[in-house]
């Protein structure tokens, strides 16, 4: 991922800054700049998510793309944040400890590196609460 492409989403990736529609009260993460329900009547504001939630479903990735090969096996999950929206994230826990319904909270972690001399990508992972 190019430097600019990563850089422009740093608040979202580092701190779970998503959005909220002030018209209908729905929360969005990953952030949306257009409310799919209110459409043109929507009023999108930034929103800082608390970073707590629960595992909806998960898997243990054993065969990864090149960038993640050296992390395998790792737990990948769909997490429902307490505010409502769902996102995909890694859960930093032993594979046999992951389970559906498990409470988790966000942590700041290294996600990957763009080759041996490229940018280090940081972002949000989750750990058991």
């Amino acid at each position: 991922m190019s430097v600019a492409r990563f850089w422009r989403k740093i608040p979202q990736r580092y701190n779970l800054i998503g959005t909220k529609c002030d018209n209908c009260g729905r929360y969005f993460f990953p952030p949306r700049t257009f409310c799919p329900v209110c459409r043109r009547n929507g009023r999108i504001l930034e929103h800082q998510f608390k970073g707590t939630g629960k595992v909806v479903t998960y898997t243990v990735i054993r065969a990864a793309s090149e960038q993640f090969e050296h992390f395998t096996p790792y737990v990948l999950a769909i997490i429902q944040l307490d505010e409502g929206p769902r996102l995909t994230a890694q859960v930093a826990c032993p594979p046999d400890k992951a389970e559906i319904g498990m409470r988790v909270k966000k942590v700041f972690r290294r996600i990957g590196t763009d080759g041996s001399s490229g940018v280090i990508h940081y972002g949000t992972k989750f750990v058991p609460e």
């Binding site: 898997t59 990735i61 065969a63 793309s65 993640f68 990948l76 769909i78 594979p95």
Partner: protein, 387 residues
């Protein structure tokens, strides 16, 4: 709207085709389809080509023009040629574009084709490219792989419904049985449940034999009006319905992780168009990129209730000898999955079955359905064909 018929089909063999280039593949499939229809290339009005990612797989874009050129139709008839893309549903989409062109009266005779050359890059690149069928920014970038996303569907499904590991394996066993009876299939060997359950884990609970392979291949279908079809063939196959639906690009944004709403909606639209009931359909080609995907497809298309497809598979209902044969071609699992070509290959299989040309895998069918999925369910096409 005019009634549309398939008058010719052609397909390459599927597999790791080291001797065939991207161009060789689509020319072979296209030539076979023209021969099947007894048609000269100059008669074709338009080309629609499904292709997911020639840009990453063979570093070639501008596929429409390339194909027109090597088909000998660029410098002669200057044929309009259009590439369409919806990840693994690119083929289904190309077919639908062809149907639309003929039905509307814009075109008389069109070729709808699909092609993918996947083995010219290292497998890591293939995995990364396929992950682009999901949300690159908020799934793949985080470490999601394509099998990983379907594995999360499988885990959610198995947490909520009574599907056993063995039933999941039976999908692969059945599709390999069918593939072993299909001369174009990538895998021609039968397997047993132990083969699946003892294969290496890719993303829990999915193992290697739960996954469709990386494949080179191309397929083509020729369409014209039902009215003109008899000029070219004694066995026209009528397109009874062509439906398409969308859903969120990311799996995490779905209403229900284990239900592909786009399949549900596309199927409803298709059955309404065709004026048919589920009991009228004799065979299905569904998008089994993973074993769990076939389970979801049978249910989401409406052939049984949620949670019942595993039992149907175990009882043999979906086998070649069953009441509702599913993936007679071997499916993506055993026939192979050249992503852009898959949707057209499904049409080729349905047409062969309806014409009674399916050889050792022939089933008794007058109406067949093809179901093609892009990504984890963000695009779905459903076509119903009949004779």
């Amino acid at each position: 709207m005019r009634e549309v018929a398939v008058i010719g089909i052609g397909c390459t063999t599927f597999g790791e085709k080291w001797n065939s280039s991207f161009r060789d593949l689509f020319i072979e499939a296209g030539a076979r389809a023209l021969e099947d229809a007894g048609l000269a290339g100059e008669k074709i009005d338009a080309l629609f080509i499904g292709n997911m990612s020639a840009g990453r797989f063979v570093e070639q874009e501008h596929i429409g023009a390339l194909i027109a050129d090597y088909a000998g139709l660029a410098t002669t008839t200057h044929i309009p040629a259009t590439r369409v893309e919806a990840a693994c549903a690119s083929g289904g989409l190309a077919f639908r574009q062809g149907v639309t062109a003929v039905a509307s009266g814009m075109s008389e005779i069109v070729v709808a084709a699909g092609v993918e050359k996947m083995t010219d890059v290292a497998s890591g690149t293939t995995v990364a490219t396929l992950a682009g069928a999901a949300d690159r920014e908020w799934e793949a970038f985080i470490g999601a792989t394509f099998p990983g996303l379907y594995a999360m569907i499988a885990n959610d499904y198995m947490h909520r419904y009574p599907l056993t590991r063995e039933q999941l394996a039976m999908v692969a066993v059945k599709n390999h049985y069918n593939g072993a009876r299909n001369p174009i299939a990538q895998f021609q060997q039968e397997i047993n449940i132990e083969t699946v359950i003892n294969s290496s884990l890719v993303a829990d609970p999915l193992r290697l034999y739960d996954c469709s392979p990386i494949t080179d291949g191309a397929a083509a279908a020729i369409l014209t009006t039902m009215e003109r079809a008899r000029e070219f063939t004694d066995t026209p196959v009528k397109v009874l319905a062509s439906a398409q639906a969308s859903d969120s690009i990311a799996l995490h944004d779905r209403r229900d992780i284990s239900t592909l709403d786009a399949t549900v909606v596309a199927a409803k639209r298709a059955f309404r168009q065709a004026g048919l009931e589920h009991s009228d359909v004799d065979m299905l080609e569904v998008h089994d990129c993973f074993t769990i995907a076939e389970i979801c497809a049978i249910e989401d298309l409406g052939f049984c209730r949620k949670g019942e497809a595993g039992k149907l598979t175990e009882e043999g209902v979906t086998s070649l000898q069953g009441d509702l044969p599913v993936n007679t071609s071997g499916g993506l699992k055993a026939c192979g999955h050249p992503v852009g070509a898959t949707g057209i290959k499904q049409i080729v299989e349905v047409v062969q079955q309806l014409r009674g040309e399916a050889g050792r895998r022939q089933v008794d069918a007058k109406v067949g359905l093809a179901h093609n999925v892009g990504g984890t369910g963000a695009t779905v096409t459903v076509h119903i064909l009949g004779v």
